[in-house]
Symmetry: C2
Subunit: 354 residues, 2 copies
Amino acid sequence: MSSILDRWWFRAFAAVALFFLCQLGFIISKVQNLDEEKMTLLAEIQTLERKRDGLLMDIANKERDIVRLDRREQQLEVLVRDRLSLVNAGRKNAPMIYFVTPTSFRPAQKADLTRLSYALSHVPNLHWIVIEDASTASDSVARILKRSQLPHTHLCVKTPANMKMKHSDPSWYLPRGVPQRNAALAWIRTQLSRAKTGAVYFGDDDNTYDLRLFDEIRSIDAVGIWPVGIVGGLVAEKPLLAENGTVVGFNAVWKPERPFPIDMAAFAVNLTLVTANREASFSYDVPRGYQESHFLTGLGLSRADLEPKAMNCTRVYVWHTRTEKSKLSKADWTRIISQDRSVFEEVEAHGLGL
Amino acid sequence: MSSILDRWWFRAFAAVALFFLCQLGFIISKVQNLDEEKMTLLAEIQTLERKRDGLLMDIANKERDIVRLDRREQQLEVLVRDRLSLVNAGRKNAPMIYFVTPTSFRPAQKADLTRLSYALSHVPNLHWIVIEDASTASDSVARILKRSQLPHTHLCVKTPANMKMKHSDPSWYLPRGVPQRNAALAWIRTQLSRAKTGAVYFGDDDNTYDLRLFDEIRSIDAVGIWPVGIVGGLVAEKPLLAENGTVVGFNAVWKPERPFPIDMAAFAVNLTLVTANREASFSYDVPRGYQESHFLTGLGLSRADLEPKAMNCTRVYVWHTRTEKSKLSKADWTRIISQDRSVFEEVEAHGLGL
C-alpha cells in the first residue's frame, strides 16, 4: 500500500482532491452564510413592509383627521364669518354677569326686548334674568330669550294693582320694577349662594348698552360706578372725582342729597355682596328716587366704596334711552290694556308679543 | 500518449476532477446568484428605508398639520362659543343686502346707532350704508361702523337749511333723509352698476329690526312688502291680501289714496331695479307722505308687483320705534344745537358722539 502513496500521480490526485474539497467546504459554508443572510434580509424586508403598511395606515388615518378638521374649520369659519365676534375671545373664565331686566307689557315691549337681546347676545358669560310684570311668563318673552342663545332665567311677578302705573301716568310717578328686581335678588340668593365670583347689574329693557360696558362690569371689586347718558335732565349723569380718582360727589341736579344720587344703570355690584347681605332690596316704602340708595346702603356700601369705571368716568357706555310712547287710538289703547290676544289680528298680536 | 489515457487511475482522476469541476461551476454560479440576490435585497431594503423615512416625514408633517388645525379649531370654538351665531350658517352666497340708514345729530344718535349696529352685525352679507346729515363725516359714526365689523360705506350730505327741521318741530313736519337717501342711491348706481343680485332696504336708525326680516329681504324678486309694527297710529300697518295672496289694499288710515300708503321700513327692492331706473329718487317736491310712493313708482312698480313677505304679512319683523326726545334744559339744547365739542365736558361729548 505504501507503494501507491509514493506514486506521483496518486499524490497529485490527492492534492487536487483535497484542494477541491477545501474549496467545496469553503464555498458551501459561504453559500450557507449567504442563504442565512438572504433569510435575514427577507425577514428585514418583511418587517419593513409591515412597518410601511402601518405607516400608510397611519397616514390614511391622519389624512382622514385632516379632512375632518378641515371640514370642521370651514364650518367654524363660516360660523365666525357670519358672526364675527364683536368682543375679544378668551373670556372663558371671566366672571359671570347677571343682567337683571324687569319688563312690563306695552306696545314696544317686544321690540325693545328684541333689540336688547341682540346687544346682549354679543356678550360672553352673561346670564340674563328677565322678570315679567305678569302673573304668568309669556311665550313671546320666552322665545326672545331662547333666540338670544344666552343663559337665561325667566321669572314673573305681578306688581300690586295699587303700585301699577297707568299708561297715562308720567314715568316718574311710581317706582318701577320693585317686586321684579326683588324676585331676581331672591333667585340669585337661592341659586348662587355659593358662587365666589360674578356681578349683578340692573339693565332696563329700553336702555342702550355699549358692549364695552360689560368689561367695566366684570372688573369691579365691590361696586362699580360709571356715567349714564341722557338721564335726569343731563347729557351725562356722573360722579365727581377727586384728583386721586375717588368719588367726592355727583353732578345730579335732582335730589343730590340722596346717599347715591345715581340711576339704576350707573352701577353694578359684586354677586357675593348680594348673597351675603340678604336683606338688601328694593322697596315701595322709600321716597321717590331712593331705590338705588336703599339697595346700595342695604349692601353696607357707602360713597367711599364706589369704584369709578369707564376711564375714570369720562366715557358713556350706557344711555338711558326711552322708547317713545306709541301713538295709538283710544280704541287701540283699550285693546292693549286688555292684553287679550283674541281682540287682535294675528299680525298685531305677533307685533305686540301677545 | 494514448497509453496514459487508458490507465484506470487516470480515468478515475479525470472523472473525479470533472465531477468537482462541475460542482464548482454550479456552486460558483449559485454563489453569484446569491450575491446578486443579496445586492437586490440590500437595494430593496435601502429603497424601503428611504420610503420609510419619507413616510415618517409625511407623518411628522401631518401631525404638525393636525396640531395646527386643532389649535385653529380651538380658537374658532372659543370664538363661536363666545359668539354663538344667531343666524343659520351657510349664507356665503346669499345676495347682499344694502341697508341704507340716513342719520342726523341728536342727543340719542350715538345710542341709537350703537344698538342698531349690534343688531346688524348679526346679519351676514349685509352692507351698511350710513349717510350723515352733515357736511363732514363724523369720527364717532365712523368708529361705530368700524366696531360693527360690517362691510360699510360712510357718506355725508347736509340737508338744505330750509328743509331742516328744528328740534321743536313735530316729526312729520318735513320729510327726513331725502338728500341722504338720494346720496345712497347715487353711490349704489355708481359702485354697483354691474351687480346682478342684491337688495336695497331703507332702515332708519331708531327702528327695531327682528333678524328674521333679513331673510325676507333676501328672498324678494322685485319688491317685497311686510307689516311694520307701531306706525301710522296703528298697532301694525300692513297690506291687505286677497285669498290668492296678492296685495289688494292697505290698512293705512292716513292718506290711503297714496299709490303705496306704506312706511319706508315696509319694503325692499331688488338692487338691479335701482341701477336700471336711474331717475327713481326721493324728493322735496312731492306731498307729505309720498316719499315711498314717489320712489317706488319711479322704479316702474305698481301695487301688483308687491310680493307679500313675512308669512303672508302675518308677522311683524320691524317696528317703527322712536327714541323719546331727550328731556334736557334749554341751555343744554342750545349747546347741542351748536354741535360744538368745546362747550361739552369730555364725558358729555363722548356720550353724544361729538
